[in-house]
């Protein structure tokens, strides 16, 4: 079992107002799985994704990542988990605009303490893998949305993570680029990377092996793909 989430709740407090976004979510994810999480906006799927990606901690419940209870980890320990075990793909790409494609891809490796030559080598390889071998020294502003998202995928892959989290990866892309990105993700999964993808588009979600629906902070049902 790669991930085990048990009775995860998340409560946001603003003044006297308490907002319960997740109401006891439990989920197990096996290594090599490809899970699509769907749900309307406000359903709590982003919050769930943040907890899954160790960007946030649950209010209650336990979250085990490779049998380590990360729900009790400190901010720096979570940063290390994110750095080494998780790759992120965001809807808005989230590349640093002042860095070139290859520098963006090298970033997680910098925080990992890799040497310059090792970083170059890894970053070059993953960029070639996503078909951007010729655009390594372009800045994000000089690339199309599809290319930017592929840089982001390369960045997620650079650290050779156990888990890749994709939050609406095709949300800002045209149909063709979206299809390319999804194909890359499927290819990754075929090679053994565990994938969790969040989307509100059933067509996109159908690429997953499992489809899980979130409604009002609860896993309402598992749709078979």
């Amino acid at each position: 079992m790669l991930l085990e989430l048990k009775d995860i709740t998340k409560v946001y407090k603003t003044g006297k107002l308490e907002l319960k976004v997740l109401k006891g979510v439990s989920l197990d994810i096996d290594e090599g799985d490809f899970i699509s999480i769907i749900g309307p906006s406000g359903s709590g799927k982003s919050t769930f994704m943040n907890i899954l990606g160790c960007l946030d901690t649950p209010t209650e419940g336990t979250y085990n990542f490779e049998d380590r209870e990360v729900s009790k980890y400190t901010a720096d320990e979570l940063a290390e988990i994110r750095n080494i075990k998780i790759g992120f793909i965001f809807q808005k790409f989230n590349l640093l605009p002042k860095l070139t494609a290859i520098e963006n891809v090298e970033l997680p490796l910098i925080y990992r303490g890799e040497t310059t030559s090792a970083r170059r080598q890894i970053a070059t390889k993953v960029l070639e893998d996503v078909g951007l071998g010729g655009r390594m020294n372009h800045r994000p502003s000089e690339m199309s949305g599809g290319e930017q998202q592929r840089v982001a995928i390369a960045r997620a892959l650079a650290g050779n993570p156990k888990l890749i989290l994709a939050d609406e990866p095709t949300g800002n892309l045209d149909t063709k680029s979206g299809a390319e990105v999804l194909e890359i993700l499927r290819e990754l999964n075929r090679n053994g990377t565990t994938l969790v993808m969040i989307t509100h588009d059933m067509n996109v979600a159908s690429h997953g092996k499992r489809i899980i629906r979130i409604l009002d902070g609860e896993l309402s049902q598992e749709v078979s793909a």
Partner: protein, 398 residues
């Protein structure tokens, strides 16, 4: 380390990132640096000038001679000065080599159509050895000039130039406040000392001066001891002598020796240096606040960047060091430019003021390190703020 692998960023990489971020916003970075540049160069210029002034004053005092005592008479009751004959008793004190009583006044000197307002000093033969003053042409004041109150005068080089141009003044008659004096000599050109330069002075016999300035009595005596070691002994006997004359009134006179003067001047100039350095230091602190201000803006602007960096694995210390080093690089570059401007500025100003400038290397180092430290200190707060941002919140920031 949880995964047994070394994590974290190398310092060289952080500095490279900081430089990239500084260069990506050149105008803002320069304006931020300006405070540090001005502060650092102000510290260097002011301290260097204060030191140069100290040196020049010290040199002047030392130029007086290390075995010189200077007596000023304030007087008490009816006894407001010393008789010329009384002053001669001082030369009998053990350890005294020679004495030079002075009567001083202002006068207008005229030769043909030229005139000049200068200080005229009444002196005797002691003036030459005590002041180390020689004549470049003609002769000095003689015992007989004093005895007979001769109307003779020696002129400083500047006075000669004002009145005679390049012609020789020897034997000519000059009018001193309307009275004719015969020029008997020209004083050797001298460096200016704390007693003033003799270049813009004229000397007449002390007895002539007493009558001429209608001020009978001597109010100022310079005494040369036989050696620097005998100065203290001479001073004790001199005090006893003066106390006797002025009925034990210690306020009636003042004796200065070079050591006392040097230490007094030293205290004053040290304080001056500290004060100037301190004022300039304040401007450096203000520059530091400027850095803090701009760093805070930068942290807000780059919230999203911080979020992305954290999401992909930057730890608190990575973000913290990134922003502190950025502040340090800004202030370091500013400090370096400030040091360069400070040296150039000191050079120009001391040239204009005619001071002998010596750049003190330690001041350059201290002001640079101080500016660096200020930048880092004021970078701590914004950097800490950045490092505490939660990745989720930072990623959501638009």
């Amino acid at each position: 380390m949880m995964f047994g692998k070394k994590t974290g960023m190398k310092a060289g990489m952080v500095i490279k990132l900081a430089l990239a971020s500084i260069f990506s916003n050149k105008m803002r970075s320069f304006l931020t640096m300006l405070g540090i540049i001005i502060g650092t160069s102000a510290v260097i210029i002011l301290v260097t000038l204060a030191q140069a002034t100290t040196e020049s004053v010290t040199e002047n005092i030392e130029g007086m001679g290390t075995n010189i005592l200077s007596v000023s008479i304030m007087g008490t009751g009816n006894q407001t000065s010393l008789d010329y004959e009384d002053t001669l008793d001082i030369s009998n004190i053990d350890g005294v080599d020679s004495i030079s009583p002075i009567v001083s006044g202002q006068a207008t000197l005229k030769y043909e159509l030229n005139s000049t307002d200068i200080t005229v000093e009444g002196a005797d033969e002691g003036y030459a050895p005590v002041r180390g003053q020689s004549v470049s042409s003609g002769r000095f004041i003689h015992f007989l000039d004093i005895e007979n109150r001769h109307k003779v005068i020696l002129l400083g080089t500047e006075v000669v130039q004002d009145l005679f141009g390049f012609a020789s003044p020897l034997g000519e008659q000059v009018k001193v406040n309307g009275t004719s004096f015969t020029v008997i000599g020209v004083l050797e050109e001298s460096e200016s000392t704390i007693g003033g330069s003799s270049n813009d002075k004229a000397l007449i016999p002390v007895s002539t001066a007493e009558r001429f300035f209608r001020s009978p009595g001597i109010k100022s005596i310079n005494i040369q001891a036989e050696s620097p070691e005998s100065v203290a002994g001479v001073q004790v006997q001199l005090e006893a002598f003066l106390l006797r004359i002025f009925n034990n009134d210690q306020e009636a006179y003042r004796i200065l020796n070079q050591t006392d003067m040097l230490s007094t001047i030293g205290e004053v100039t040290d304080m001056l240096t500290m004060m100037l350095g301190g004022i300039a230091g304040i401007s450096l602190v203000v520059g530091g606040i400027g850095i803090m201000n701009i760093m805070l803006v930068s942290v807000t602007e780059r919230t999203r960047e911080i979020g992305i960096r954290k999401a992909i694995g930057a730890k608190r210390k990575d973000i913290l060091s990134q922003f502190i080093i950025e502040a340090a690089v800004i202030s370091g570059i500013g400090g370096l430019i400030g040091v360069i401007f400070g040296v150039i500025g000191s050079y120009i100003i001391s040239n204009v003021m005619g001071l002998q400038m010596t750049i003190i290397f330690s001041i350059l180092i201290i002001s640079f390190v101080f500016s660096l430290a200020i930048g880092m200190f004021f970078g701590i707060y914004p950097a800490n703020k950045a490092s505490r941002l939660k990745p989720v919140d930072a990623l959501m920031y638009e």
